[in-house]
Amino acid sequence: MTVYSAPGTDGAIVNYESRYDHFIGGEYVPPAKGQYFANPSPVTGEDFCEVARGTAEDVEKALDAAHGAADAWGRTSTAERANILNKIADRMEANLEKLAVAECWENGKPVRETLAADIPLAIDHFRYFAGAIRAQEGTAGEIDDDTIAYHFHEPLGVVAQIIPWNFPILMAVWKLAPALAAGNAVVLKPAEQTPASIHYLVSLIADLIPPGVLNIVNGFGVEAGKPLASSNRVAKVAFTGETTTGRLIMQYASENLIPVTLELGGKSPNIFFEDVSRLDDDFYDKSLEGFSMFALNQGEVCTCPSRALIQQSIYPDFLAAGVKRVENLKQGNPLDTDTQVGAQASNDQLEKILSYLDIGRQEGAKALTGGGRADLGGNLSGGYYVQPTIFEGNNSMRIFQEEIFGPVVSVTSFADYADAIKIANDTLYGLGAGVWTRDINTAYRAGRAIKAGRVWTNSYHLYPAHAAFGGYKQSGIGRENHKMMLDHYQQTKNLLVSYSPKAMGFF
């Protein structure tokens, strides 16, 4: 067990600056209007740094820098870009523990997750796209004996990326790695809830990236995000967030006739077929862990398995075992490596979760464990903690239909396979799902029948590079986490070449 010292205190392995400006053209640039906003840690609720409050003027400056750098960056060899991505990964790996503590302190998530998942995945993501871009090839199509259609990949130019707060570094890297690999210059806006950890990352890697290729403008959505997303100087907007803002970004993009990729969340079903209980073995234990996965990252994951569907024949026993498993989760100081459940990322997130616990009860759902705010005492009392909560109810309740983004699972039963698929697909969203069974036919058929972009089968919450991630239905447009993502950041150039010296004979 290790308890890391909080950044800014004695013994801390990592410290934040007291203030962060925008990162534009390879240097730190104060906001045009001179304003800053305070950045609190969800661990204690206390401010730990201040961050530039960007406006349209700052966005324009970042776009100037990006446009100044884009052409040269786009012409670098894939080997050169891949080498830079690999060097970024190496630098991150050498500072893994510091990055993990920095992100933990800003987001409130347990440091064991940032040490074991967020940062290692981010490192691997740069390496994956370094490899993918080296291996990418164009095509040559032989139309006829004289005519060849060559296809080349070309970068889009300058792209805008708007990053969520639930994985401040990993989600930034999911977008950055393919965009940079494909040869684009980027203007990135971090979430205002988690604006600083990306700057700690930049402090480690800034010397590796040509000035202007990566630009970061901080600030609020309406003041900085909107001018960026609506700019006619970007060739694409990538956004992770919610549906209304997703629609607004598409609306702006339609005005500029540019593409978007959107990841807008889900209400993911986690289905437990009766045969999981046939034996009390490792697999049964694994399926109970799978049930408990709703509490990972305090439920602040777009694919949180927040609806558990359990077959009626095993329902009472499986659920009882699940409740017991969840009651043993260790909630506490996120900086403690033994802590499994940490703090919600912000006060408004905490309040929203509590409002859902309220309407859940009003609709008649029964809290089998948890169901309220957790006061962890001492200086953690000011932090934003929610008890892992299991609600029992039915799929028409709002807690079954809306993404709570907290450590809350809503449980119901199903009669048979057809009933399971019907309930699973009775949702506006289709991002993730889980299927647990010992029967390969059931696993395959359920996986194909669920209308979601990712169906974890006898697993959950794995996010390796090279497994495509993205949504059906209202969960969004496009995919991340796979080499196909390069297409989202590239134009296709077709050279249609005639090798015939003869006139076509039309004129």
Partner: protein, 123 residues
Amino acid sequence: MASRVDVTPAAADLMRQLRGQHGPLMFHQSGGCCDGSSPMCYLEGEFRTGQSDVLLESLKIDGVDEPITFWMSASQFELWKHTHLTVDVVRGRGAGFSLEAPEGVRFLIRSRLLTEQEIAELS
């Protein structure tokens, strides 16, 4: 007459303030992840509503000349229509492009079940 959406005094205060700072306002209730399930406040007309949206209420706020519209996507409304919504405000960072975020506060929805009588009046 029953209503679908009410506002708390604190939320009404904030709406008056934002109206004064920016101009006529509208709300669109979001769904999905991160800052989803939150009411987003925009300048009236900033968010383009269409056939896939439902106007739940035109809120009358003392001191604001024009009604403030409150919208939701029709598919989401199907799942919410049995509940009454109250727009409240809490301390927070917000996100999305909602107008109040720079003020250090965030609009929040509190919900209760509509009574049978209210449902009858509203249908």
